[in-house]
Amino acid sequence: MIDKFVPDIAQALAGIQSGATIMIGGFGSVGQPNALIDGLVDLGITDLTIIANNAGAAFGGLPKLMEAGAVRKVVCSYPRSADSSTFVDLYRDGKIELDLIPQGTLAERIRAAGAGVPAFFTPTGAGTLLARGKESREINGRLCVLEEALFADIALIEAWEADRWGNLTFNGSGRNFNPIMAAAGRLTIVQTQHRVELGALNPAHVMTPGLYVNRVLHVPYGRPIR
């Protein structure tokens, strides 16, 4: 019997080590796996590279993880937040590295990793500061920049519903980066609001099939906070 549910946070995060590259789903605070991020803080590991769209809002554990000194580098498109200055303060003090990527290029590099595309050319960012050090080429008369697939050791995902095979659905704008990160992570760990029986999800409405998912933790926390 395939059963990807784990009983507690310790088993959900077992084996994550210092130096890992970790993708974290979410856009703003919606679709962000807060219980798993809080669990990371408690692991006491260091030297992490975090790949996420934002570098933490007031709620959720990412600022806490950064304050604990666990994060060496953040790979994201928008590290500033109206309600959290943690990243900006650490960055200004030279205590954290930033790899800034245009948001669509970030998403496409993550998608490419899950889809077996090693690299691709795009006009986004070509000729700008963010293309520095990257190969550029004119294709069909347009300047393009070569972008490589972005992998992670671990992907932390928040789902709305999950069954024991790891089939997932997402709610509202909580989908965002979660499906593509689930596919790009070598070990994909999910926290889900609802646990459903195998067969309960309409197969045509499954948004991430279970093959991308390794572990699922049931965390029925209610409403997202912000």
Binding site: V30, Y78, R92, P102, P123, T128, N176
Partner: protein, 219 residues
């Protein structure tokens, strides 16, 4: 000593947004950037079916929810609560940007620091090193949308032109802006340079030209 600052003439921020809204026809798929561009949606009547896109994967954004009726699972790119209108759909982030980068957006309206006469846009960094840089989806929108319109004040807070012969700030996208809406004027960006479409009520050509750091052509 007191210095009297002359209040900038022309349109208010809301009137600027309303002026852009007048030019958006039914059926277009439109992304509105953060800042003044966000106000444009308030001036498109819901009877005109314009499909508003938000980078986090939402197509068919409706009016802002009334207080107390917010759905905590529905936010836009600016992290504000939104509603969905009938016909809305939601996709993941890579698909959301595929529709931007694949040329499927009819229009994006972006804020700007500077626009150059070759259509270059600078709107993400000022080149100062003190704060962490952030880009979000601006480079994707600037390079990918069918039309890129910039909505901004005509000059900076200290009176410097934002419409220039060449951008001095770091670029967001190369050669993609086709129209600029400011508090003073509406200007087309064409292969031959800037062409004035209209001035705001009570503003004359000479005023607009004197606050523009490039030649403004008249048809």
């Amino acid at each position: 000593m007191s210095i009297t600052m002359k209040k900038p003439a022309g349109r208010s921020r809301d009137a600027m947004a309303a002026r852009v809204a007048d030019d958006i026809p039914e059926g277009w798929v439109v992304n509105l950037g953060i800042g003044i561009p966000t106000l444009v949606a308030n001036h498109v009547p819901t009877t005109r079916e314009v499909i508003f896109h938000s980078e986090n994967g939402v197509l068919g954004v409706g009016p802002a929810p009334a207080e107390g009726t917010e759905d905590p699972w529905l936010i836009n790119a600016g992290k504000a609560y939104i509603t969905l209108r009938d016909g809305a759909s939601i996709v993941h982030q890579a698909d959301s940007f595929a529709l931007i980068r694949g040329g499927h957006l009819d229009l994006c309206v972006l804020g700007g620091y500077q626009v150059a006469e070759n259509g270059d846009l600078a709107n993400w960094a000022t080149g100062e090193n003190d704060a962490a840089p952030a880009v979000g989806g601006a480079m994707d929108l600037g390079a990918g949308a069918k039309r890129v319109w910039v909505l901004m004040e005509h000059v900076t807070k200290d009176g410097k032109p934002r419409i220039v012969s060449r951008c001095s700030y770091p670029l967001t996208a190369l050669g993609s802006v086709t129209r600029i809406y400011t508090n003073l004027a509406v200007i087309d960006v064409e292969p031959d340079g800037f062409f004035l479409r209209e001035t705001a009520p009570g503003v004359d050509f000479e005023t607009v030209q004197s606050l523009t750091d490039a030649v403004l052509h008249r048809r």
